[in-house]
């Protein structure tokens, strides 16, 4: 069993029994998708919501990143109709008073992630999003369980 690290603005796909991990998500969102029958699981570590300017770095964004991850999972035998998703992250790490534009990236990332998954007709079965703390997430391709580690908090499994 291997553990594959997914860096910021990146995406990885594994087969059972490997694990996927993303470290220290703040306003970033970790999107985990699994097709248990095909035994294929993917994780994307997205930084921003929409790829409006056609940036080639597609995994930086929720819309293009999730869509491409699903396409590549299909290439490995997964079926979209069987896929389910778990998402975590999208925190607001700092509260800046009097600044309306600052600090909403996390919220926007979560909204874009949900919208993209809805467009792809992939159901979200569990989520741990928002609040003001960071999350390191581990996705187990065998069980589909997502483990969330945060500073000063108990380990959480969703």
């Amino acid at each position: 069993m291997k553990t594959i690290t997914v860096g910021i603005s990146d995406m990885k796909i594994v087969r059972v029994p490997d694990l996927l991990i993303s470290y220290a998500l703040g306003s970033c969102v970790g999107v985990c998708i699994i097709d248990k029958s095909a035994q294929v699981a993917g994780m994307a570590h997205i930084l921003l919501s929409y790829n409006k300017n056609g940036d080639k770095n597609i995994f930086k964004y929720a819309d293009t990143g999730i869509t491409e991850m699903v396409r590549q999972m299909e290439g490995l035998g997964a079926l979209k109709s069987r896929m389910t998703a778990k998402i975590a992250g999208g925190a607001k790490m700092f509260e800046i008073k009097g600044s309306s534009s600052l600090g909403h990236i996390g919220e926007r990332n979560v909204a874009a992630t949900k919208e993209t998954l809805a467009d792809l007709k992939i159901r979200i079965t569990a989520q741990d999003v928002g609040k003001n703390y960071g999350r390191t997430i581990t996705f187990d391709s065998s069980t589909g369980k997502l483990t969330i580690k945060s500073f000063g908090k108990e380990l959480k499994v969703i």
């Binding site: 910021i8 220290a24 703040g26 600052l102 000063g152």
Partner: protein, 201 residues
């Protein structure tokens, strides 16, 4: 926005300007003699910043301060445990064992110290350029460095993939500690700043 070498050099120089003043005000506040080296100023991306502050999961204190006026943007101040211990020990006599134990009075002290250091930093840039720059009330969080950083760099990733990263080394008694400051102006401000120094954007 792509930066050329001249523009990068200028940003580094701006990073240098305030550093001496910030160290002097720190020394006053702690009533301790603090010697500092020439700060290391570089333009780094997320992964390199994470690397230089000890990895994504390293717990640090992050203080975010926004500036506005003639130019706008944010400054993120990152403090590792050794630096936090030096401050809290000098001010409150605290022996910090772990970040889990930090209490409200200590959080306030850290916010205040960061506020004063960032103010002296911003003031030196303002007086040199003749600009009017105000700073907001600081927002403090203690968490994994990666999480504190992605929240801030993502806001500015449309400006540039890299940010001005200022690492300062202080010697106090027999200790050597570091502070880390990230300077993130928005695009119009970056242009104003470059123009003020006679560089075309």
């Amino acid at each position: 926005m792509e930066l050329n070498e001249l523009q990068i050099d200028l940003l580094k120089e701006i990073g240098n300007i305030g550093a001496g003043n910030a160290a002097t005000s720190l020394s006053h506040m702690l009533s301790k003699r603090i010697d500092m080296n020439v700060p290391e100023v570089s333009l780094l991306d997320y992964n390199h910043i994470i690397e230089s502050i000890g990895g994504a999961e390293n717990i640090v204190v992050g203080v975010l301060i926004a500036f506005e006026g003639d130019i706008q943007g944010v400054i993120l101040f990152l403090l590792k445990k050794e630096f936090v211990h030096l401050i809290l020990n000098s001010l409150l006599g605290t022996e910090l064992q772990s970040f889990e134990e930090i209490e409200d009075i200590e959080r306030s002290a850290l916010s205040e110290i960061s506020n004063i250091m960032v103010s002296s930093y911003v003031n030196s840039i303002a007086s040199l350029t003749g600009m009017k720059i105000n700073i907001t009330i600081p927002s403090l969080n203690i968490d994994m460095s990666g999480a504190l950083l992605d929240a801030v760099t993502s806001e500015f990733s449309e400006v540039a993939d890299k940010v001005v990263f200022i690492k300062e080394k202080y010697h106090c008694q027999n200790e050597t500690v570091y502070s880390y400051m990230l300077l993130l102006p928005d695009i119009p401000s970056l242009k104003i700043l470059l123009n003020k120094f006679g560089i075309d954007s």
